[in-house]
Amino acid sequence: MLQGPGIVWYLGIAAFLFAIGALGVLIRRNPLIVLLSLEIMLNGGNLALIAFARHAGNGAGQIFALAVMAVAASEVCVGLGLVVALHRRRLAMDVDQLSELRG
């Protein structure tokens, strides 16, 4: 078997990261911080995937993690683009005020 801590530890840290991220998304209002928190959630997921890949002994999970990173990178591009656009228009950096699409 592989050396090092057991898979439970990894999953624990992954869940912790995910929870921190989720909390950040929930309670912070600055879109930049929300994006940051989202990244943390995604990396929590990535950690779990890689831990499972090691545990199962094949590379499938790592491939998944790579795919997630690619998606995360594109998501950040779009998100940061939006943040910059908001800033240029001198709109409030507050997700609660950006609710024009409410039904």
Partner: protein, 626 residues
Amino acid sequence: MIAGAWLCLCAPLAGALAITGAGERISRRNAGWLSTASVFVAFGGAVWSFLGLRSHGSEHGVISTAWTWLESGKFHVGLSVLVDPLSTMMMLIVSGVGGLIVLYSIGYMDGDDEERRYFAYMSLFVFSMLLLVQGGNLLLLLAGWGLVGLSSYLLIGFWHERPSAVAAAKKAFVMNAIGDATMALAFFVLIAHSNSLEFTTSFATAGHLSSTTVNLVALGLLGGAAAKSAQIPLHTWLPDAMEGPTPVSALIHAATMVTAGVYLIARTHPIFEQARTVELVAAGMGALTLLVAGLIALVQVDIKRVIAYSTMSQIGYMFLGAGVGTYAGGMFHLMTHAFFKALLFMAAGLVIHALSGEQDIRKMRGIGTLMPWTRWAFLAGALALVGLPPFSGFFSKDAIIAAALHDHWYGVVLAVAALGGAFLTGLYTFRLYFIVFGHGQVSDAIDGSHHGEGPKTMLVPVGILAVLAVVGGWIQLSPWWHPVTSWLSPVAATLGVAEPPKSQEVLASVLAVALGLAGVALAYALYGQNRLAVPRLPGVQRALEHKLYFDEAYDALFFRPAAALAGVLRRDFEEPIVLASGPDLGEGALEAGAGVRRLQTGLLRTYVFFLGTGMAVLAIVFLAVR
């Protein structure tokens, strides 16, 4: 010969599609020629397959499958055509007589507003009919059956600005749909028991079915045959269908479509033979129809309606023949009938055309002197219809009567009815002939509106059919010479009970000819020179003029109860419940929407919260349940 069969099937379809696709790029006249050519190509294909089958011997029928058309589990049906004696005979009749009629239409429809549509329909009709007779299994037969119903609907209602034509088309369609439904039900039973609609398998299965089942199947088939062939009680659509153009009446209601029922019985005779009772019911139905239609024809004054009732009556003879078991006799009469009845319709069409659409025979008196050719052609058709030797009807009709005579007391009853029908045929046919073509003063109205006999495209088909109506019956003189019977024997062998001895054939012929002549003589006495007053029987006459109240009875039996029920449902259910509930439903939806709208805050964090909570609840439930 298979190639010939496919050519025969596809040519009219190609013609119809070409005319439809070409639209206004093709002249009206050329659309007519294209349609005619496509049907004559089909005739060429039919001759090809006929000659091929003849050189192989008529027992070597072939089925050619193009591809699997439908597949469902173990049940699969191919798109296949069948070349066997029965189908080649029908192919020849349908495409041959059909081609002549389409050619005739070019002159008849000249100047109509929508000629192209007409000719596309005509080609479509011929294709449908060929699919019906060539279909290599019962499902294709049913497909052709339905297509024929559709194209007859389109053609009867061709003059769609006339409300009566539209009503007639709908009536024909509904009546035929009843038959289609019973046929489909019969096929479902067959599928349930044999998992196949191939002819051979189905017929083999029919032998193992319980008598109730096989009777049900045969009844379903008989229902379809009766509706398509306008036999009592599903006959009321045929006289009304005369609203269509006259060539349509000749094509659909004389030569081809209405005889499909006879073809069906001959084709599925192994099933009917397992259900002999139903077969005898078919014969009785035919006998009843031939009498009733003959009686009604006596009082009609519309030239096409008289011929239409005569068609019903002659199909009654075919049903009678097929029912007692002489399928070849029924098919032979079908063939000669196609010749002389198409001839009669087309000759009547010449008269109607010459008089600019006048159809009332009382206004036609004296037209014969102006149209000698038409008169001779009509006379040939009339003599063939009455069945006087040597005209074609004599050979085919008498064989049926003789066959019926042979089958115990029931057969004798049928034969007596058929002989009565022969008398009526003579009477109504020559009533029509003497009134329309007899001597008499040419009325001024006719003189003024008369257009001459008609263009060559109309006279040539009439001439060809007149010759066929005279000589068409000479290919069989039972019991001495019977090529038609032996040609058909591999697929539709005559039953033993329907093979009368020579003496009966002679007796039947003598009686039928004598009665036919008696009818002609009576018609001459009553209508020939106006020498005798037509006897007045007001009650009977009124009943016959109302076509024995069949329409009224169906109206009272089916339409009025249905309309009354619909009225009650509308008043007590539709209006108070369905209609009134509409606004309430709308308000309810609005209120519910307003309630749900509060959940949509537009704030990302609320949604994430719900998402997260949902996830957590699911996780807990998952853990707890495990």
